[in-house]
Assembly symmetry: C2
Homo-oligomer: 216 residues x 2
């Protein structure tokens, strides 16, 4: 997880509308991430993420999971394509397939996910609904490294939003999404800068290199 | 859980230093809670909470749990004393005994607890240590009604604090405690005002009576 001066080669896995993909594309365009999305892989031929890639001239491929009898075979194809594109960091952006150790081990500590809750609260499906039904007063989102559990990996960044009594799943989802679009690019930039260090399951964010003394 | 104009009769159960007890005493004194702590029960003859009661002229009793072979018998004595003092609301303030259904059912939906984490994350013991070891970026505290689970009851109020990379258990504990002393009296006042309504496991906070239209 060391940084380098050369721009980060980002691979995005998406299944849906791709709003987090868009946030990453915008952040790369605007120089907030020292890197580029060089490949987007999707399992869904109708993913909105495809439209965003076409518009931004980003290469993409559709790998239909229904063509594979085993998850590991599907993941092996993803790994092959990611390696061929010399991907430094794999970013899950609404990728609706559980990924297997085949992919996780191929990119150990180089796969990020974002989950719309304050993990470890409300992992898994429909976290916004879970939060509302539990009656919490705050929720948010969590960027984490992916490990073999469901939403259990080391936490990189989190953001908090209030939960209002008048909220339904959609209003809460939108409020959280605004924060997702803010912290996901930030986490990717920390990675690009080589500032993320894993200590056990805790992630330390190093200060910016420019703020370090010369003798560091 | 309906309110009344007469001041709330609060019973506090405490085992330790009693900083949350102090926050409640101060809030009652300053009129931020329409009520009074009319009884403090402790299982610990050396609890700092006792000193605070003496200073504030609040009746207290020591009920040593070691004198009881069963938790239910211990709780039955607490219930007897709370009933004799005509307690409206039981407030757990660092009470280090797990309470049994004997007490919970005697004061159904009239027992509050505060837990130093953003529940449902990190229930049980040493939540600050749990939070640090998990590597979360935010933690906080939760005021909830007590049910028969451990820190599982309906959530009344929560407050959020950042977790810094330089934090240890003590610094995080102190940061959370400041918020505890703010939201616990607030939750008790909502109860005193009759503004807390339980819908399933969600707690709705009604608007202040004075802000309702006359026809309400």
């Amino acid at each position: 997880m060391t940084g380098s001066a050369s721009p980060l080669r980002i691979g995005v896995l998406a299944s849906g509308e791709g709003t987090n993909l868009q946030a990453l594309l915008d952040a790369c365009d605007e120089g907030r991430i020292n890197g580029h999305v060089v490949l987007m892989l999707t399992n869904n031929p109708r993913a909105g993420a495809i439209v965003r890639c076409k518009r931004a001239d980003v290469p993409f491929a559709v790998v239909d999971h229904r063509a594979f009898s085993e998850r590991t075979a599907f993941d092996a194809v993803l790994v092959e394509k990611l390696r061929a594109a010399r991907i430094d960091l794999v970013v899950l952006a609404g990728f609706m397939r559980i990924i297997s150790p085949v992919l996780i081990n191929a990119f150990a500590q180089r796969i990020m996910n974002i989950h719309p809750s304050l993990l470890p609260a409300f992992p898994g499906k429909e976290p916004q609904r879970q939060a509302l039904e539990h009656g919490v007063r705050f929720s948010g989102c969590t960027v984490h490294f992916v490990d073999t559990g469901v939403d259990t990996g080391p936490i990189i960044l989190q953001a908090v939003v209030p939960v209002h009594e008048t909220d339904d799943v959609e209003t809460l989802k939108r409020r959280i999404q605004e924060e997702e679009h803010r912290i996901y690019p930030q986490a990717v930039q920390f990675f690009a800068q080589g500032r993320l260090v894993l200590n056990g399951r805790r992630v330390t964010i190093l200060p910016e290199a420019s703020s370090l003394p010369d003798s560091f």
